[in-house]
Each structure stands twice: as structure tokens, then as C-alpha cells.
């Protein structure tokens, strides 16, 4: 009976894995869609070179803030650590951004 005691602080907490996977997928869809839209806007606006990449990271920062708001600022309720909501998907979306950016750059030339 005494063996069913409290959890020591070294134990890894058990999380609902399928909910975590669903949340991470949801972030990934959001960031991919926003990368594509950001690429289209950057191409139409006529950004070239470094300005375009700065615009992309600006879009990603706004997306991070939006995702934080979506999780009602209690990140640990929905994810296992902060880096998931802030960093995950940023560099994967970069490729999509560059693709749509270069494909729409010709609108102005």
C-alpha cells in the first residue's frame, strides 16, 4: 500500500501522446500555410535578397505570437516544452517560402 506513493521529481511525466501529436501537426500546418502566403506576398511586394528573409522571420514571429495566443499562453498544457511552439516548423517553412517568393517575383518584372 505504501508502495503506491507519490511520484519522485526524476520521473518523466506521462502525456497524452496522440493529443501531443495532433497539436504538433496543427502547428506544422499553420506554419506551412503561412510560409506559402508570406512567400506570395514577398514576391508581389518586390522584396529581393536579405529583405525577403527578414520578412519571412517577421511572419514567423507573428505566427509564434498567434500560436501562443491560440494556446491561451499556457504552453505546457498543450505541449511538452516551449521550443515546440516557438521553433518547430520555422526552418521547414523556409523552403516553401523561398519557392513561392521566387515564383511571384516575376509579377514585378
Amino acid at each position: 500500500m505504501a508502495a503506491a506513493g507519490g511520484v519522485s521529481s526524476d520521473d518523466v511525466p506521462i502525456l497524452q501522446a496522440e493529443n501531443l501529436t495532433s497539436n504538433v501537426k496543427s502547428i506544422y500546418y499553420s506554419r506551412t500555410f503561412l510560409s506559402i502566403i508570406g512567400g506570395v506576398v514577398a514576391g508581389i511586394w518586390g522584396f529581393t535578397g536579405l529583405t525577403g528573409f527578414i520578412f519571412y522571420f517577421l511572419i514567423m514571429m507573428v505566427a509564434s505570437i498567434g500560436l501562443l495566443a491560440k494556446s491561451k499562453f499556457s504552453v505546457l498544457t498543450y505541449f511538452d516544452n516551449w521550443s515546440r511552439i516557438l521553433i518547430e516548423g520555422v526552418f521547414g517553412g523556409l523552403m516553401s517560402f523561398v519557392l513561392f517568393w521566387t515564383s511571384h517575383t516575376d509579377d514585378l518584372s
Binding site: L20, I27, L108
Partner: protein
């Protein structure tokens, strides 16, 4: 689900219209042989509007976040299978006085 998709489609349509307007603007500049650096102001406003709408749709449409904590209210396992092995019908409750006025203490 419906409103998010509608906003996203509207944002996409606004961006497509802005792209078309920019291409036409460039054609006009080719005729007048002027230099260009950026699209006209109303196209930029259109781009910003389309961007804002698409960003809102991009954050709202994917499934809402589900709690990962094992002990939160919505993650409780409350339904047990109806397994006859664990149902006991012959117990000492039969010997208790059957008082219909008894209420469950909550």
C-alpha cells in the same frame, strides 16, 4: 470550420487580385518606360489586408489544441467496458433495509 475557410479563401482571392493588379501595373510601366521598385499604394494595402486575413485563417483553421496533461478534466477515462466478469449481483446489499426515502449524500 466554415468561417475560417471562408476567411482564408477571401484572403487568397484578395492576394490573387493584388497579383493581377501588379502584373497590369508592370505592363503599364513597360509602356511608359518608367522605373519601378514597388507596387502602387492601393495594391500594397490590398496585400496587407490579404496577408492579415490569411494569417488569421492559417491560425484558426487547423484543429484546436488538445490538452496533453494526463490528469486534466477532458482526458479522464470515464467509460469502463461492460464486462460481465466484474459484475456481482449476489452481495450483502440484499440484507440492508430497503428505505425509499434514503437520498445519496452529495
Amino acid at each position: 470550420m466554415g468561417i475560417g475557410y471562408a476567411v482564408g479563401v477571401l484572403g487568397g482571392a484578395i492576394l490573387a487580385h493584388a497579383a493581377y493588379a501588379t502584373i497590369q501595373y508592370r505592363a503599364v510601366l513597360k509602356i511608359t518606360e518608367e522605373e519601378f521598385t514597388r507596387p502602387p499604394m492601393d495594391v500594397m494595402m490590398e496585400l496587407l489586408l490579404g496577408l492579415v486575413l490569411c494569417m488569421w485563417a492559417g491560425l484558426a483553421v487547423p484543429t484546436k489544441f488538445l490538452s496533453v496533461l494526463p490528469h486534466s478534466e477532458e482526458n479522464r477515462i470515464v467509460s469502463l467496458p461492460a464486462n460481465l466478469d466484474f459484475m456481482i449481483f449476489n452481495h450483502r446489499g440484499r440484507a440492508l433495509p430497503a428505505d425509499e426515502d434514503l437520498k445519496l449524500k452529495t
